[in-house]
């Protein structure tokens, strides 16, 4: 009953009255609501109302997907020895290696967007790390939130803030600005830790790297809960 009211985005008292008055195609058995989803969705749209089953809300789903830095990183994958000697070359190579992108067109689009962004101002945030990302979210339904960690074969001059050559890229792709900011703040939290930077210099194995990120993530989640 309460869950159902949440799905309808109203007060349980109101939903209860609607069912009693027969205004809504839902049956009530004790504290459980019985309904046919198709009929109810049709009804909801006919009455200008929102009916969202918990778990099927697209926004909430995306939230869940993006919530994890670790999840995003696993989707993007960790890539070693990415070749290239200029910004555009490494970006191209990185984009080609990212996991989780199916269409060729999407890759091209992403590459162009990343380049555009770099032209404005470098995403090299210092410490040999850059976080290339598109300025606006890519409109593609199949696009997941992902972060690809790309260790470069040779350090490349990224015009970073501290003028140091960049050895590691975190290519960040998110479906919305909100998730983008969320992930960016998490990455920057990790990079503020000097020991993490030295750890990255060692070009760690995939599993070791993920374990380390998971540790950060746990701390961040705890902070948020407080």
């Amino acid at each position: 009953m309460f869950e159902f009211a949440k799905c309808m985005n109203t007060d349980p008292g109101i939903v209860e009255r609607w069912i009693r008055q027969g205004r809504i195609p839902v049956k009530r058995k004790g504290d459980v609501c019985v309904f046919n989803r198709d009929i109810l969705e049709k009804w909801a749209s006919a009455h200008n109302m929102r009916f969202v089953m918990s778990g099927s809300d697209p926004a909430a789903m995306a939230e869940k997907k993006s919530a994890g830095l670790l999840g995003a990183m696993k989707k993007g994958g960790v890539h070693y020895d990415v070749p290239g000697s200029s910004v555009s070359e490494v970006l191209r190579a990185a984009v080609d290696r990212i996991d989780g992108i199916q269409a060729r067109d999407t890759r091209d689009l992403l590459y162009e967007k990343l380049l555009d962004r770099e032209k404005m101002i470098s995403t090299g945030i210092g410490g040999g790390v850059a976080v290339p990302h598109p300025r606006t979210p890519i409109q593609d339904e199949n696009m997941d939130t992902l972060i690809a960690a790309c260790f470069l074969k040779n350090p490349v001059d990224f015009h970073a803030v501290d003028k140091k050559p960049v050895e590691l890229l975190f290519v960040l792709v998110a479906p919305s600005a909100k998730h983008h900011l969320h992930l960016l703040s998490r990455i920057s939290f990790c990079l503020r830790d000097d020991s993490f930077l030295t750890f990255l210099k060692t070009r760690p194995e995939r599993e070791v790297f993920f374990n380390r990120v998971a540790g950060f993530e746990k701390r961040l989640d705890q902070d948020e809960q407080q």
Partner: protein
């Protein structure tokens, strides 16, 4: 698994295989309810006839006048002691339950009015059997709906089915049953209502035909209706409207008078019955439902001049108002018909005396038109009047003057008595809520559904400095102040009130909330009526009010939230 469970499961699942639609379900139940209420109508007809036959031999003795008194007293005792219901005819009760309680009626109402009204009318009281049958039929519908756990919308439809089946059965008039129910009981013309109600009408009329034969209550000769009749009908409407107003006011007046007599209800009813019996000694035509008199008039075989008819009309009004006003049980349908036919006849005689030979048509035609005018005016339901009279007299040839007389009479009555006889009390109490109206939507929404609970309560002796921190965290402009010891609501702080002090850091530690809060705040209780709360908001010009119950702050109720919820509710109630 018993049959009951099987049917219930079937009902539970039917919306799925019908594509979420319960129309078929309602049609089937409508037919069932229509049959049951048709049976109730036949039963009441039968018992009235039996009692009339039984008492007819005593009718000529002088002591006969106590009989209506005894009948009324018995019916009042029955209602008061055994059934524990108030007297009255039942239609307002049905409308009240439809508008306020989703058509919930008690099971005992299925037969209570049948018994009490047959006692009243059978013994000679001047009242009609139709409203009690409507009450029974509606109660049957309501209880069948409850038995199968249908929801309120479906239950209201079945209550309508019951009333339609009853009217259709008692008059053998299916269209009148349908139209009366939609116009008076349900008040909503939607396909969802009309279909099952129409089916119930057919079922009720069919049952009545099976058991009583397909007879038209008032057969008549052929009328040659010409333009003079149609024009004269407009004048008749004024007479019937006057009759309606007289009858309405007389019933109410007699109710007031009887209320001042300091005796038990049943004694009161007995006195009223005896008065009617006394009148009946001299004018026996006013006793009972009076259908035989109508029949005579419609046939044109009623003898007696203008003066007698006028006297009879007034006597019928008096007898009806005394019967109903003093605690007898019955409806006004039949008395309306009788008074209407008297007034029609009187009008005819009057015109005929002034301009002999002007009206070519038989006087029975005017008795018939008078009935339509009276029903239309009394119920303020012109369509019911038109269809009922056409059906119970089988006289379609009078349709033109019929329409005219019933609409004019309704309009004139409405001018003097804005509310119909049935609804007047309900409107006075604020219980008259028609579907799809502002009042209905407001009555359905409860304060508890609108209250916003995200206000941060602050204690009385908090300093302004601490309060500023609270303001930072809050998303709202209102802050209820409570007494930290008792937890009682003490006052409100609105940001606008304290803006000048807010940035004065000197005051932060010297001023306490107790000093700056507003204490004379108007509050509402969580159980208050929304319409009342809204009118208070309009008077004070405020947009929101704190909800305080048992001195505890519950939340805020604001017009903004109300609009949101109101709109949702309105959309829900006005789209099918």
């Amino acid at each position: 698994m018993g049959l009951y469970d099987k049917v219930k499961t079937w009902i539970g699942e039917s919306p799925q295989w019908l594509g979420g639609d319960d129309r078929l379900l309602l049609i089937i139940f409508g037919a069932l309810v229509g049959c049951c209420s048709g049976l109730a109508a036949v039963a009441l007809n039968f018992s009235l006839h039996a009692m009339e036959g039984f008492f007819s031999s005593y009718r000529f003795h002088w002591y006969f006048f106590v009989l209506p008194g005894m009948g009324a007293a018995l019916s009042s005792l029955f209602l008061e002691k055994i059934i524990q219901e108030g007297a009255g005819h039942g239609v307002p009760e049905v409308v009240y339950s439809v508008s306020r309680h989703g058509g919930l009626l008690r099971m005992r109402s299925m037969f209570s009015r049948l018994v009490s009204s047959s006692l009243t009318i059978g013994s000679g009281g001047s009242a009609g059997p139709e409203a009690p049958v409507v009450m029974s039929g509606s109660a049957i519908g309501s209880n069948i709906a409850r038995f199968f756990s249908l929801n309120e919308r479906q239950r209201i439809a079945l209550v309508g089915c019951g009333s339609a089946g009853a009217v259709a059965g008692v008059f053998n008039a299916p269209i009148a049953g349908l139209v009366f129910t939609i116009e008076v009981i349900v008040g909503e013309w939607t396909a969802l209502n009309i279909v099952p109600i129409a089916v119930a009408s057919v079922a009720g009329a069919q049952i009545s035909r099976l058991l009583q034969g397909n007879q038209i209550p008032f057969t008549h000769l052929h009328f040659d209706v010409d333009i003079s009749t149609t024009l004269a009908a407009a004048g008749l409407a004024i007479i019937t409207a006057a009759g309606c107003i007289l009858l309405t006011r007389a019933i109410r007046k007699s109710h007031h008078v009887s209320g001042k007599v300091p005796v038990p209800l049943w004694v009161r009813a007995a006195i009223g019955g005896c008065i009617v019996g006394l009148v009946g000694l001299f004018l026996p035509q006013v006793l009972g439902e009076g259908y035989s008199v109508i029949q005579k008039m419609v046939e044109g075989s009623f003898t007696g001049g203008f003066a007698l008819v006028l006297m009879l009309m007034l006597a019928k009004i008096a007898a009806t108002s005394v019967t109903l006003g003093w605690g007898g049980s019955g409806g006004i349908f039949a008395p309306c018909l009788v008074v209407g036919s008297f007034s029609g006849l009187m009008y005819y005689r009057g015109i005929d005396a002034l301009w002999p030979g002007l009206l070519q048509v038989n006087e029975g035609c005017f008795a018939l038109l008078g009935m339509a005018g009276m029903i239309g005016g009394m119920l303020q339901a012109p369509l019911t009047a038109i269809f009922l009279i056409v059906e119970i007299t089988g006289g379609y040839e009078t349709i033109l003057p019929l329409i005219l007389v019933s609409v004019i009479s309704t309009t004139v009555c409405h001018y003097f008595e804005p509310a119909s006889f049935y609804f007047r009390d309900l409107i006075e109490k604020g219980y008259y809520l028609r579907p799809r109206t502002d009042a209905k939507v407001l009555a359905d929404l409860r304060i508890s559904e609108l209250v916003e609970k995200d206000c941060i309560s602050v204690p009385k002796n908090m300093s302004l400095g601490e309060f500023v921190k609270v303001v930072q965290q809050s998303r709202r402009n209102y802050f209820p102040v409570i007494d930290e010891i008792t937890g009682a609501f003490a006052g409100m702080i609105h940001l606008d009130d304290i803006r000048p002090y807010l940035f004065d850091t000197l005051l932060h530690d010297t001023v306490f909330l107790e000093q700056i809060m507003t204490t004379d705040v108007e509050t509402v209780d969580i159980d208050d009526d929304l319409s009342e709360v809204l009118s208070r908001m309009d008077v004070s010009g405020s947009f929101s009010m704190p909800v305080v119950t048992n001195q505890r702050f519950v939340g805020m109720v604001s017009k903004a939230t109300l609009l949101d919820k109101y709109r949702k509710e309105l959309m829900l109630q006005t789209t099918d």
